[in-house]
Symmetry: C2
Subunit: 405 residues, 2 copies
Amino acid sequence: MAVGVSAMPPLGTIAGVRLGTVAAGIRKAARRDLVVIQCAPGTTAAAVFTQSHFAAAPVIVAKEHWRTCEPRALVINTGFANAATGAAGLEDARACCAAAARAIGCSAQEILPFSTGVIGERLPVAAVVAGIPAAVAAATEAGWADAAHGIMTTDTVPKAGFREVDIGGVPVRLAGIAKGSGMIHPNMATMLSFVATDIEAPRPLLQAALERAVKTTFNAISVDGDTSTNDALVVLATGRSGARLTAAEGPVFAAFCDALEHLCAELAQAIVRDGEGATKFVRVDISGAHSDAQARVVADTVASSPLVKTALFASDPNWGRILMAVGRAPIALDDPNRVVVHLNGVRVFRQGMVDPDYREEMGQEALAGDEIVVAVDLGQGVGRASVHTCDFSYDYVRINGSYRT
Amino acid sequence: MAVGVSAMPPLGTIAGVRLGTVAAGIRKAARRDLVVIQCAPGTTAAAVFTQSHFAAAPVIVAKEHWRTCEPRALVINTGFANAATGAAGLEDARACCAAAARAIGCSAQEILPFSTGVIGERLPVAAVVAGIPAAVAAATEAGWADAAHGIMTTDTVPKAGFREVDIGGVPVRLAGIAKGSGMIHPNMATMLSFVATDIEAPRPLLQAALERAVKTTFNAISVDGDTSTNDALVVLATGRSGARLTAAEGPVFAAFCDALEHLCAELAQAIVRDGEGATKFVRVDISGAHSDAQARVVADTVASSPLVKTALFASDPNWGRILMAVGRAPIALDDPNRVVVHLNGVRVFRQGMVDPDYREEMGQEALAGDEIVVAVDLGQGVGRASVHTCDFSYDYVRINGSYRT
């Protein structure tokens, strides 16, 4: 069960966006596994995709279509990732787009395909194609919660978020869903996540806002250090609210970026809370670096360390492992004696050794809950970065160390 | 139990090197925890040390002493790493050197100290100092096996190797011991390992041979991607064999490098076989890279991937995860379609998709044993690299995810 998560928050609608979810029998019977998200003409789309050398076929096709025109629909299947499937995989992805285009009445290039699931096996394209008309017909503006369920794979909870903010006197809405719990260490993009808003936004401005938002949200999370072949995040802007982005600066743009970043943070952190086997939700805060980029390198090193993550699983205030991880981070560290480490606010290390006021019981008490902040001040500048991660448990090994079924 | 390991190999002696091992009660009673390795005057020493920003106090002192003169003895304790112990830790390490110098009758600078164990707690220096005279008195040329036991911590088996080779018509011996099973991803040096030979070698030539040997051995292994604060590897050359290194080239140097590399490979691989929780011994071979360095980056990425390592634990031929790891390696990959993947000789992936002749049963059969070769040809050059690693099991989490005891 995801760390510190109860029910999905209440989700509103986004005018101009309709979602349909069906069980198409793609890999398992009677499982919601196909989602079609339609958007009204005039909608603009920003997107970021995986940087993997082995980007999946749907990622390749989605990028190609997205570069050509604005989308009219997103088609998402679970069960099979359609990755490492060669030329046949590209054909399969295109066949899904063609089927959606027929059902909706648009061109195939106006469809963006997304897949998630097993790598290396062909997509059962007949099942997807057969399911698309029903998913198109089922479309409703109230379909966000169903769609959040429909894109789940090893996720234990659906992940969705909704915000309404005032932008220049106009109420603007943002809604989003996400999936993912393993193979999570996004690089420029992440897992599958789909966000929509009713602001009006020329694509370059929407893209700028998205790239700003992912930097501190989806690109600042890690479950296991592994990056997926299928990562994608799309933001649709329907323009129905009456609010409008006109420049990549100023109070309107800033307010929208802020709202988008908050929604992305909520979705990205939901992925970490549902990280495979996670029992702890962990934020690694690095401060006092020469630059934000340097802080980020250290944060990634600490957040990816198996020894740090297994200690957190044990609620063990084993700060020596945190130092070990900082110690191997590929940065220039001017003076290790200036490094200060706090665990949930308790200072454990400073001036090259354990804090003289620290007692083991203080560390135990600090780590007793399921939310942990590991804070390291490098003492050499003002750069800072935060990364969200989870612990490393028996269940991570169970989930990933069982033969595929 | 270490993968594919039975008893220690028979160990010979190195003329001029005597080892004494005692139970000094440093952390636990009646456990062999203190080793003193003495070498005859005229011995030269090469060494490599951890690159951690938080190098332990004994590492700092050992480097300082080693730069000043040739050593007369190495003092190694287990139980406490004497890392992250500030100025007091440096004093403790120096106190151990002073005690050994008194017992042996040399200067403190001629002593190199090494520690391994818990990070962040003070070394009980009185116990170490009290134990040193007995360890010095117990010294014998036949002490290699006892010393291999005496440096163990979470190791489940002692690790030692011995070779006798003909160099320029002269029989030359090399013996070595090593310890380590977690926090293993050496960078320029590794864990604790001590090697001796009876060749005569000026320090610059011995150092050149050592740095050549570690590149493909100790620096090409990974258990968990984490690098220790206390890594050190020392090679002692007593000169008693009559063979002599005179230049960093030519057949004599090549023969010695070859022998040293083989011994280091044996010791480094013994560490991987005894990796925490290991059930599989894995070699990752990357070929067809633009350079050896590029191949090494890919090999490290595959060998450090939690998803690859948990699949290998399950004997699951889940080659999609191998592609995922290659896909996220930070290199330029000219054409993913030229990548070819073999699992223990079975071709699973080529031309962008699963090999048409591959069947799941072939992969299962290939991974049935406890030794696995993952071979990836990038198809873009002649660079190659191999890294040894192990799988990621429940026991890794159990060993590292239990509260420190």
